[in-house]
Symmetry: C2
Subunit: 408 residues, 2 copies
């Protein structure tokens, strides 16, 4: 493979002095415009909840019932299994891990008091999940991702044998970054885990549960129901968010779990806070009306995002299908495409892109500790740039992959 | 003292089947109406920060610079000494204690790893501060409150001698519940503490910093500046909130400390959250304009609250000034009047009020563990009920005090 033409093209691209950012899964301006009415949908005299509570004042620690109902409908649960949170579902996850570390699961022995605890980290995965573990000095054990979810043989083997394994990070629908959907079998095997730790928890980050690019909402078995059936009713902690539905800068989030777990969360909340931003909740209730309104709204997001994912698939196929050892995902939803370069090329590809003014998520970030053992995974985050910019960024990216491969 | 007339009056009051709530420091509906325009002050196309950031999207972890500036002006600090938080300043305090317990002050040895740590708790004080300690199993040492602040001889003695004393709760302006203002000397003695623990922190809950009932903002020496002068630059953690300025159900809060401490907080934030609700911040910036706008707004609150505090003073003086062993505060701001019954009567007074349908903060709540050693303190929270209801509640209260005293 002759690197000369790719090197020459790379110099051309560098000369264009681009400045494009494909690092994070950020909604584009066009997507934000979809929720324009959200900012003005609460009139001056619209502050009463359906039960007559003045949402401007204190109280209602676990969220407005009408907001709970929307989350419950989306997650196919009941309002009693929902606690509404603030702007960031990551904050809910962090806080739940913090709570388990310092006060223990359901006020049992704190994780931190049990020794050197560990989490399973299906990889490639979401870097911010790993950051939470890092922060609490939780050891991360990478688990290979497959097209149907994490390698469940390995998950079952580890979870059942090591009582210091306390959790696993999952993005079950349109996984970050691969975009795959956990198979029904994967979900059921999760529900039927026999953890050596009685205080093992599944962190089920359902961030993209309604973020399909085409067609209907993707249904997978309900982890809360499946766990209950399997005799593990308190094992799953489910999270979701309106960050990529309405505004990342003014969203509502929730944590969902067994009603009993929700009671424990509420007990912590009574010490932890004076209450949530209820007007932000009411605003979402008014703007979306209910889950049906949310689903309709998500179709508009899909209409904006679909061409971007199609452009990626089209470009990669055209430019790279002849190149041995590289592959990529073709997700039906979510915010990312996961790309594998030939082994040992990811860091070089990212560096070349950076030279040419296109920033990607740092190579390795999708693995615990930033350590991609085969140095091959790159997360493509196409949502933020307009289509025209994405096109240019993909040109830079494909040429970088070809050049890096040729250099080897 | 003949109890018969008070007992008879108590029966009369009971027969009225009242249902009045004087338990918490909650703004009244009339106060909430002052911020009516807040809900609609952001137009559809008003989402850009002064630096041009789209507040609807991700980013700006530590808050909008223009929001920081308002807090900085109110607290007489610089924006670099401010980190903006969400709806609840209690949540910021809880999180800061949680962080110090599990990760240590400035990433030093975690408090929880150092043994059985303790906080000093000036009492009577704010029950929710005590709840935070309770939650983390932090031992609480009551400190007597005086008219000029906590008993500083005792604070100095304990803080300088016990390295397991890690913090103290302070409400320096219009203290909860006594309404007193720390004297200049008290503030300076705080700043000049020589803690045995290098990781001792002053939790300076400046919730009522601009909540005066009359006249100008009450200035006390700036704890951050005084601590820096005294060589303790990182010792104070200051908190304040718009909960009782705009809406408790849609407020903005902040934590303020040395710029270095703020960097540590930001570092935690990068693991902890994807970002704050920036539209809520922008809304406050637009509605208030700046600190001057906030001060003007607080005058309107004062106009609503002043008659309530005057009614308390007037009623208590008329009904109870003849009764030996009882006393009360006459605050110039804040949300409470602290009332001391004759020793051993507070629980009985609260029970009598409750029988007559008037709920007060439980007797004892203003002391750690709910343990008021002289069983005499009751917090009167007059802000929520309209003046007419307050009048009735005070009738019930005064008669209950007289009856309880007569019973002894």
């Amino acid at each position: 493979m002759n690197k000369a033409p790719y090197a020459a093209r790379h110099e051309e691209l560098k000369a264009r002095k681009l400045n494009l950012n494909m690092m994070r899964g950020i909604p584009s301006k066009a997507q934000l415009e979809l929720s324009r009415g959200l900012l003005t949908c609460l009139g001056d005299d619209d502050y009463l909840s359906e039960a007559g509570a003045d949402c401007r004042n204190y109280g209602i620690l676990d969220g407005l019932p009408e907001m709970k109902r929307i989350f419950a409908d989306i997650l196919d649960l009941t309002p009693g299994e929902i606690v509404v949170g603030g702007n960031s579902s990551l904050a809910l996850m962090f806080d739940n891990v913090a709570s388990n570390m310092s006060r223990g699961v359901r006020e049992d022995l704190p994780w931190a008091a049990q020794g050197h605890v560990k989490f399973l980290c299906p990889s490639p995965g979401y870097d911010r999940h790993f950051t939470v573990c890092d922060y609490f000095h939780i050891e991360m054990i990478p688990i290979e991702m497959t097209d149907t979810g994490p390698d469940m043989d390995e998950v079952e083997r580890l979870v059942s044998s090591d009582p210091l394994i306390k959790g696993i990070w999952c993005v079950p629908v349109f996984s970050n970054p691969t975009g795959i959907i956990y198979s029904d079998e994967t979900v059921r095997r999760f529900a039927n885990l026999k953890p050596a730790a009685h205080d093992f928890r599944i962190y089920w980050d359902n961030a993209y549960v309604i973020h399909q690019l085409t067609g209907e909402k993707r249904q997978i078995p309900n982890i809360v129901r499946e766990c209950a059936k399997a005799g593990n009713p308190h094992m799953p902690m489910v999270f979701t968010s309106f960050s990529k539905v309405s505004f990342p800068g003014a969203a509502v989030t929730c944590i969902a779990s067994s009603a009993e777990n929700c009671e424990y969360i509420k007990k912590r909340l009574t010490a932890q806070t004076i209450g949530p931003d209820k007007l932000r909740q009411l605003m979402h209730v008014r703007f979306f009306g209910g889950a049906e309104g949310v689903y309709k709204h998500m179709q508009k997001h899909a209409d904006i995002l679909r061409p971007k994912f199609e452009l990626i698939e089209e470009t990669l196929r055209r430019e790279l299908s002849g190149l041995d050892g590289c592959s990529w995902t073709t997700p039906e939803g979510g915010y990312f495409v996961s790309f594998d370069t030939p082994d040992g090329c990811a860091k070089r590809v990212a560096a070349l892109c950076s030279e040419a003014g296109v920033a990607f998520t740092p190579a390795g970030a999708t693995f615990p500790g930033g350590n991609d053992p085969r140095d091959r995974n790159i997360r493509i985050a196409p949502t933020f740039p307009p289509l025209e910019e994405l096109k240019v960024a993909l040109d830079v990216f494909c040429n970088a992959v070809l050049l890096a491969a040729a250099e080897r």
